[in-house]
């Protein structure tokens, strides 16, 4: 029996990363949710011991490396998402999926806010309303993403 979901976490983050990198037509790219953030949030809630803040920070650094943003920008934002997930995991996981979506919306909005603030601070401001869209689509997609991720790891086989 595999007691640690590390392998499942690794695989799901890799798939999320690929989904983030695949080129899409521009309108789809704008509404594309932040799959990596959703995955990190899921594992922070589901397995706060294995996933968690360190995982979020590492995933954020990977996003920084790919997007060419200021190193540490996404690391900070995703670590915040993971922290909120770990802190509230007991409260969130007992709720039905639709109520979870609301919590996810708040967390993702905070994530986008951190990115917006760091963008402005580092001299690359981008003040368009479009940058908040992925928080919305991410929350809408949560009821689909969470069950898929739940299937990826079953501790009792």
């Amino acid at each position: 029996m595999n007691t640690s979901p590390r392998m499942a976490i690794f695989k799901s983050v890799l798939i999320a990363l690929i989904l983030t990198l695949v080129p899409l037509p521009s309108w789809l790219a704008i509404i594309r949710p932040d799959f990596v953030v959703l995955t990190v949030l899921y594992w922070s809630i589901r397995a706060p011991r294995s996933g968690g803040i360190g995982l979020g920070w590492a995933c954020g650094l990977i996003l920084d490396a790919f997007q060419g943003s200021v190193l540490g920008e996404h690391a900070l934002a995703v670590a915040l998402v993971a922290y909120l997930g770990v802190r509230e995991h007991q409260r969130i996981r007992t709720k039905p999926l639709l109520q979870q979506s609301l919590a996810v919306l708040v967390v993702l909005a905070l994530y986008e806010f951190v990115l917006w603030a760091v963008d402005g601070w580092s001299g690359h401001p981008l003040n368009t309303a479009l940058r908040w869209v992925p928080a919305l689509t991410g929350a809408l997609l949560w009821p689909v993403v969470a069950p898929i991720l739940a299937r990826s790891y079953r501790p009792r086989g």
Partner: protein, 341 residues
């Protein structure tokens, strides 16, 4: 039921309270950001990460590459013949134009009083494929498959067959990120071809618009004017086509006119771009800021007013009859691009 198993781990991660761990990671992130933003220490880390991410980007992009190559290998004979005919016609046209170009270059040299034609500004060029990958949502950046292994350097000019595409920003061993001229971070020193008026073209984030926000309301600009690079800023040489003015809005109460232009480069449909290397002894070469010393070019043959710093002496090259470079009317235009190669 709600997508989670019933087995839960301990409420806290390994070692300590989540709040404490988050504070540590947040401090680490902030330290990284400050280092990356204020110092040059993470240059090698960036180079490394650009190299590490490239294989994954190639893998993600491979289905598209495979599709294009299948498309090419199954192209019908008739399509290939048609393309061949078209290309041959194009080569003929270009050859005729080049003949004329040589004549013009000689004529121009005669007009500005030189003994022979000036050397061409382009020293070397290298085609690069665009790796079709989402670099950053809402920002206008592309990835190309050439890096320091091919001699690519930071802030190098990137063009396509129609005009300026952008400049390289992060260069890795085998890949480089290109900042397109439509990116909100891009400031491109341009000149209106018809009048010679210099200004700065700023990206809007929209792939087919750039803005000229620093033109006063009474500036002599019309719809249809062609913008070319002005040679200031140290990245692009003078005279390369950039965009055509598409819309001008002048408000009675506004001191600035709002001018939009459409880039010539096919930024959205390009699959291949060109990296250029320039001869720095050509007068059209991009002017580098070398601490106020005007080092490049023959001072007597400066077609463009170079903006020396107020402290500089604009020293003519030794041994040549010196004509001082004319003083610039707009000293601010040269400092528009702070990034230096």
């Amino acid at each position: 039921m709600a997508g989670f198993g019933t087995r839960s781990g301990s409420p806290h991660g390994r070692g300590g309270i989540p709040g404490f761990r988050f504070t540590l990671y947040a401090l680490a992130s902030i330290a990284l950001m400050v280092l990356d933003q204020r110092t040059d220490w993470l240059r090698h880390v960036r180079f490394l990460s650009q190299g590490l991410t490239y294989p994954i980007e190639v893998v993600v992009n491979s289905p598209i590459t495979a599709w294009h190559s299948i498309e090419n290998s199954f192209a019908s004979r008739r399509a290939l013949e048609a393309e061949n005919r078209r290309l041959r016609a194009q080569v003929r046209n270009l050859t005729i134009r080049t003949v004329r170009f040589d004549a013009l270059a000689r004529e121009n040299a005669a007009l500005i009083g030189l003994k022979k034609a000036l050397p061409p500004v382009t020293k070397r060029w290298l085609p690069a494929n665009i790796v079709d990958i989402e670099l950053s949502r809402l920002r206008q950046r592309i990835l190309i498959d050439r890096g320091t292994a091919n001699g690519v350097f930071r802030n190098q000019a990137v063009l396509d067959d129609y005009g300026i595409v952008g400049q390289t920003m992060q260069v890795g061993p085998w890949s480089a990120a290109v900042l397109l001229i439509t990116d909100p971070d891009s400031d491109l020193p341009v000149q209106i071809e018809r009048t010679g008026l210099r200004t700065i073209a700023v990206g809007t984030g929209d792939p087919d618009k750039i803005a000229l926000p620093y033109l006063p309301a009474n500036a002599n600009v019309r719809v249809g004017d062609v913008l070319v690079t002005s040679g200031l800023g140290g990245v692009f040489p003078a005279g390369y086509p950039v965009a055509r003015v598409s819309r001008i809005q002048r408000g009675a109460a506004q001191p600035m006119s709002q001018v939009l232009a459409t880039p010539f480069a096919h930024l959205q449909t390009d699959r291949e771009v060109m990296l250029l290397w320039f001869r720095h002894d050509s007068p059209a070469a991009p002017l580098r800021e070398t601490g106020g010393q005007l080092r490049v070019g023959t001072p007597g043959a400066q077609p463009l007013p170079a903006p020396p710093r107020p402290t500089s002496k604009a020293a003519p090259a030794p041994g040549k009859p010196g004509v001082k470079a004319p003083q610039a009317a707009q000293p601010t235009a040269g400092s528009a691009q702070p990034r230096q190669p």
